[in-house]
Amino acid sequence: MREVAVVGVGLTKFGERWDTSFRNLFVEAGAKAVEDAGMSGDQIDEMFVGNMSGGRFVLQEHIGALIADHAGLTKNHIPATRVEAACASGGLAFRQAYTTVASGMQDIVIAGGVEKMTDVGGSETTDALAGAADREWEGLAGATFPGLYAMIATDYMNRYGLTREQLAMVSVKNHRNGVHNPIAQYRKEITVEDVMRSTLVADPLRLLDCSPVTDGAAAVILCPMEMARKFTDTPVKVLASSQASDTISLHDRRDFSTLDASVAAGRRAFKQASLTPKDIDLVEVHDCFTIAELCAIEDLGFCVKGEAGKLTEDGQTAIGGSIPVNTSGGLKSCGHPVGATGIKQVCEIVSQLRGEAVGRQVDAEIGMTHNVGGTGATVVCNILGV
């Protein structure tokens, strides 16, 4: 296995992007990544695109070829593959690119993610996202995707005494971080009272506990570490990339409040990097709902089960705390274009490690990402360092 580096990152503005299309979003992010790496598109050997549901959101499949075409990469006929694991599609694209470079199969690989979610109405979006869980035995029973995470929250609050206010503090903290992220969908601070007053979506989760519907794209360029300095003075090394699976249905899990795939992917990543949670300076976790951030912090080993609410309340997950979580604003404030999120997380860690995260900069040498598909049926973790 070769050592692999990230040498370029590119992001679009996240939000309701009525002005641009699915394909153009990706091209914008990809072109920025190529420019950031100071290379030519002709040097790219292969591409992986994370996308959850082009078929539902823009009625488009065959996304690998579509993106390669509009990015000007079909003139060299490079292999272009769409990968999908619901909300972990981006993370999966990164890991595919990582293994492709690490194995020696290819040298320069672009990994991206894209989702265009606002071209359909809210009800159809809800229905499409329900496909991230078991359509037949969860969705058909009437369980919405927020409803499944709400059932995790009900179980968690009952067992560990988490308060409704502590849950709200996750959202408040992520919005505070998002203010300083130029690509964030909501650059606006909110209060605990705002969260508590927002509409109930699925008890106990309210609107401001939920990540929004977002258009956006993100891309990164990977190459062997030994080539990295040809493209950048600040290569970021991939110390680990791991993936784990679990049952598609929440009802089949051993423990509703623990994502065993997060535990497994986290352990694998720490083992590959020969690190422990104490070595991590900041982490981007998958806060599709506030409860998900708390589960992630615990499942990755940053605190024991049941303590993440207290950790958040004490400010330890804020910038300046012992383990800053979601400096990008997370899925909540930065936005959650599902296929792009896993790549956006890597972009945020790279910005932080390069010292380019203006306004939200953390003193960091090692950062981690945690990207979840569905209610925890797929988890991808990456550890990056300088």
């Binding site: 035995w137 029973a141 009437g142 369980a143 059932m151 009900t154 179980d155």
Partner: protein, 129 residues
């Protein structure tokens, strides 16, 4: 979804017919064709569940997709059946009536209909026991 997709699961949805593995004794609802523990060493046998269970966790759905919109607010729960397996289903009760540990029993109900002239899908919901 297409009619065959509902039709082929009618027995499972209407009568809570699942199965269990004779090799390890584990029950499955929804049914599985392969025991995830025993895999090819398992022996899958049909089984109709009693339909008695308890609420393990729940939520009240306030925002749903179009097919379920007229039913909101409704309670959704993970029910642990007395045979030890868990399933997701609606519980027919007032939103403030449901609680963790509440005993429930199965009932045959309409789940939703596909618009004014589409298929009516029936299945199993639960009521307080």
């Amino acid at each position: 979804m297409s009619v065959p997709r509902y039709w082929r699961k009618q027995q499972n949805r209407y009568n809570l017919k699942g199965n269990y593995c004779e090799t390890c004794g584990r029950y499955f609802f929804p049914p599985r064709v392969l025991c995830p523990d025993c895999r090819r060493d398992g022996k899958i046998v049909d089984y109709e569940f009693s339909g008695n269970g308890t609420v393990r966790t729940f939520s009240i759905i306030r925002t749903a997709s179009d097919d379920y919109d007229l039913q909101t607010p409704y309670a959704i729960a993970i029910i642990e059946l007395e045979e030890g397996t868990c399933m997701t289903a609606q519980v027919i009760c007032e939103p403030d009536e449901i609680s963790i540990g509440m005993p429930v029993k199965r009932v045959f109900r309409k789940i939703f209909s596909e618009g004014d002239s589409g298929v009516i899908v029936y299945g199993t919901k639960f009521v307080p026991a």
